[in-house]
Amino acid sequence: MRRFIVASHGDLAKGMASTIDLFARDQKNITYISAYAKGDLDLDQQLDAALAAIQTEDTAIIFTDIKGGSVNQKIAVKVMDRANIFVIAGFNLPMIMEAILATTPIDQAYVTKLITVGQQAIEQVKVAAPDPKLNDDDSFLN
């Protein structure tokens, strides 16, 4: 099974859960971990429970918020001997959406591709004046 963990400092991961729900409801293969947030379990306990749920026949990607953070450090060390688990630091919504909606098997090549998807999704936005030719029937239908 393809599995995902989204982990962050504070409630960013919980917020991601609420956002993902608008695009892909009832995802049973994602766990969200908000570290150091009020009322949450100790981070090690949360991580160990989430990692224990990943079986050897599963493949998993763990998205962390920032490479230099303690959340990422802890995860990286915990999964260093597990070849079926990949860690990506610096997640964004397009990258996670792509991962969830695709059915591509998770391997090194896929993880590399996913990082490109996330990087390419970050771009400056400029509204372009519409080209009237692009709104005529012939250019649309041909």
Partner: protein, 163 residues
């Protein structure tokens, strides 16, 4: 061919760009909305939301019907978006070849007395009248927000809620 006609007051937005267009494997998106066809700024914003590789055209409802009646449109996999149930009814009455009439997001942007049909669909009395007519033209018309959500037949809801 029209893979789907969807009523969505946000027209092209995240769910369309990221989820529906992937599910339907589209050649093009047709926005049929009279106000947007007159509003260049809104057109620019909507076009920005379209995923690369998918064509987009924004037309008044009358012009969209003409476009969709062109035989060349039959060879394309198209997703047609309208903002209101009334507009969907107008297109449905003119176009006999719609694979799926879908009610997505309706009613959050409207300030009036509304009846809640689902978490995402709240209709005014006029829209309920239009929905009843729409169901006569396309009996399989269904409420479905995301492709992964269960389809709920509009006709079942109309009956269940006694509308």
């Amino acid at each position: 061919m029209i893979k789907a006609l969807r009523v969505d007051e946000r027209l092209i937005h995240g769910q369309i760009a990221m989820v529906w267009s992937r599910e339907l494997t589209l050649d093009g998106i047709v926005v049929a909305n009279d106000a947007t066809a007159q509003n260049e700024t809104q057109q620019m914003a909507l076009k920005m939301a379209v995923p690369s590789g998918i064509k987009v055209i924004i037309k008044s409802t009358d012009d969209a019907i003409k476009l969709l009646q062109d035989p060349r449109a039959d060879k394309m996999k198209l997703f047609v978006l309208v903002r209101t149930i009334e507009d969907a009814l107008k297109l449905a009455e003119a176009l006999p070849n719609i694979d799926y009439v879908n009610i997505g997001n309706v009613g959050k942007a409207v300030e009036a007395k509304k009846t809640t049909l689902s978490q995402f669909v709240m209709l005014t009395d006029a829209e309920i009248t239009a929905l009843k007519a729409l169901v006569k033209v396309y009996p399989e018309t269904a409420l479905q927000n995301l492709p992964s959500d269960k389809k709920e037949l509009a006709s079942d809801l109309i009956q269940k809620l006694g509308l």
